[in-house]
Amino acid sequence: MLKQIEGSLGIAEAVALCRPGAVCAYPISPQTHIVENLGKMVKTGKLQDCEFVNVESEFSAISVSIGASAGGVRAYTATASQGLLYMVEGVYNASGLGLPIVMTVASRAIGAPINIWNDHSDSLSQRDSGWLQLFCESNQDALDTHIMAFKIAEEVGLPVMVCMDGFVLTHAFERLDLPSQEQVDQFLPPYEPREFLDPKEPISMGGMVGPEAFTELRILQQRKMHKALPIIERVTKEYRELTGHHSGGLLDCYNCDNADVKLIIMGSTVGTAKDAVDELAKQGIKAGIISLKAFRPFPYEALRAAIGDTKNVVIVERHFSYGARGILYPEVERALRGTGAQIHTAVCGLGGRAILGSTIKDIVNYSLNNKFSSEMTWFDVDTKLINSYLKDTEGVTLPEGPLPEDVLMDTLQKVRA
């Protein structure tokens, strides 16, 4: 059914269609509207056989979800930013216990300085948490991905984090196509937990495992991640056939045939980038977009196939790793090893700074004109603002325009000299 609604309401409707048994809520922007709507649906009876629990912290939000999932019902919660970090201990625990919880992360920067706007530093901080992490490029994609996420989580036996850009998606009103309850029921069968806490067949979960078996359990967990790749592909195919929606998947290519440069992007920036490369195409510039949907497990083979023989690859990253470079870069580099592709990272859009069509065009031109001098380059930098600080403190001035990481480091050497 077509509706012109806020992204958060769309997600709430999608989650409700999946018939969760427990929804835990703790307020943090920008995920609040999702759980507010779910709370309303439980209270009005629209969402039946489900309890909505207002907890006192994100730590309890994930913990109640763990309990509910271990108790044999579908469990859902949502968080962002500081909230995600506050629940981290439980995030790792949920994957270790193999509980198929689905959680939305309405991606938002991490403080200090406190910042409520979008980037990907929160979700990517959980790179090694053992959760599947699926990124969404639009609200329709996010809505559909949530429905797929329950099925994927339950088939794989691991929790799934659905990462959607805070505000840019959660608070945007768009036309959304909601599948019907019948369609979702057909797609997602009633929840049958593999094992759960049941007085009829008592089991112990979460015992202490020492060096004698810990590695082996980790290998089995990694194996689940490997299994997840084809499961994500199959579930996506089923969902697309059922609804006709082109959502989900490991990754998605746009304008990639014969592209001279391909940008790898996660999240809502993909929409902006598609418009930008359409405009570039009119000028005869051939740039393709790869919307990376699955970050964990990482689709190395699919990415390598999507890049093909394209030699210019730029990863647009709304995050980076302090004291290192881009977070996606090492994964892409591994996927493309031996292909001879030139891979660079463009860092932009941190803490909610808008990534405009002009940003994307700058990145494309920068690549095609062979201007990337560093593995990582900062785009859309207010150089004056940095210089106003560096000039006084270190007597250094940075050049205007995109800032290659090497230039940043070179100025440091000048200070030392």
Binding site: A22, E56, S57, G71, G72, L197, P199, M205
Partner: protein, 353 residues
């Protein structure tokens, strides 16, 4: 509260099963006891926590007809009962984290209700969340308070051995003043744990206005069983804190766990009471009052209070703390306190003690 028992074994304060009529005897003496925490676990000799847990959970199993699940905090009880690939638990049991057992319990209760409702089943499994004092009064306190205020249908049991025993006897907010722990050592001008610190979680639980709060000890297992069964007769959030001596952490003989616990009660050191909806409904009266030194002298954590170099002022202060408890909870009289007693820590902080 158990009816006053007027007789006990000569030379001790033990009310043995042998002296009770069969209907009053502890079910542990019965051959059909549930044995929910079965033998073979790795608890130390004389472990008060293992003893308390066995009685408490068996009592809850009886009260619920076996429809029971447990969320267990990280700690000794978790470690000694579930070393992979073994488990000593004969009921559905989950360990998630150190600080979240109350919240995991809330989640289990949700799942049990939802599943029962969907299946048209009126027999909804009940939930116990449990942990040691560290997992309860410190790191798990936020989720515990959240579970209380939501009045989730969970009985939380705190096995209080007054320090972090699993990590090697460090101080918790349940550690009493002057006690030696690895982080409050017997050095300096005021050896042992500081005065005027700590919190009284049973009173805090009562302040949430939850249906049932009780303290108990492994010195009176019949009373413990009664309280667990009573707790299971309520729905909503409930809290039982059981004093469980730790021979290793307290430096007491493994054979004197029950004696030490009994002396904690008989000296006024650890008031035993129960409360419903924020109001005290019964107090376990002291049978034969003992000076606190009799309790302290059995434990090396208080060696500095009883040896030759002992500071009588500190000993007097611990005695004053017990006397304060005796007054506040009317542990010697016939009354039940009308108002909620003031936490003994308040009197320490205001230097009344």
């Amino acid at each position: 509260m158990l009816d006053a028992i007027k007789f006990y074994q000569t030379g001790s304060n033990t009310v043995g099963n042998r002296l009770l009529n069969p209907s009053m005897r502890a079910v542990q003496a019965s051959s059909d006891r549930p044995n929910t925490l079965i033998s073979g676990h790795r608890a130390c000799q004389g472990c008060g926590e293992a003893l308390g847990a066995r009685y408490a959970i068996d009592a809850a199993m009886r009260a619920t007809g076996g429809q029971l699940m447990i969320a267990n905090a990280t700690g000794c009880l978790e470690v000694f009962s579930t070393p992979y690939p073994q488990s000593a638990w004969r009921l559905p049991w989950i360990h998630s984290l150190f600080g979240n057992s109350a919240a995991v319990g809330s989640g289990l209760a949700v799942a049990a209700r939802v599943r029962a409702k969907k299946a048209g089943n009126t027999n909804v499994p009940r939930v116990i969340a449990q942990g040691g004092d560290g997992g309860t009064t410190d790191i798990g306190f936020g989720p515990l308070s959240g579970m209380f205020e939501r009045n989730d249908d969970v009985l939380y049991i705190c096995y209080d051995n007054q320090a972090y025993m699993n990590t090697g006897v460090q101080r918790s907010s349940a550690t009493p003043p002057a006690a030696r722990t690895a982080t409050t050592q017997l050095v300096g001008e005021e050896p042992g744990n500081d005065w005027g610190k700590g919190k009284n979680v049973p009173l805090i639980a009562m302040a949430h206005g939850i249906p049932y709060v009780a303290t108990a000890s492994v010195a009176d297992l019949k009373d413990l069983e009664y309280k667990v069964e009573k707790a299971m007769s309520f729905h909503g959030a409930r809290y039982i804190q059981i004093l469980v001596p730790c021979p290793l952490g307290w430096g007491s003989a493994s054979g004197s766990t029950v004696t030490v616990a009994r002396l904690a009660c008989e000296t006024g050191f650890y008031p035993i009471f129960e409360a419903e909806y924020g109001k005290i409904t019964s107090v376990r009266k002291i049978r034969q009052q003992q000076p606190v030194v009799n309790f302290l002298k059995l434990q090396r954590r208080y060696a500095h209070l009883t040896g030759k170099k002992a500071d009588p002022k500190v000993l007097a202060r611990v005695q004053a703390m017990c006397d304060d408890n005796i007054r506040s909870f009317d542990l010697l009289g016939d009354e039940i306190p009308e108002t909620m007693p003031v936490a003994v820590q308040a009197h320490e902080r205001s230097h009344e003690i």
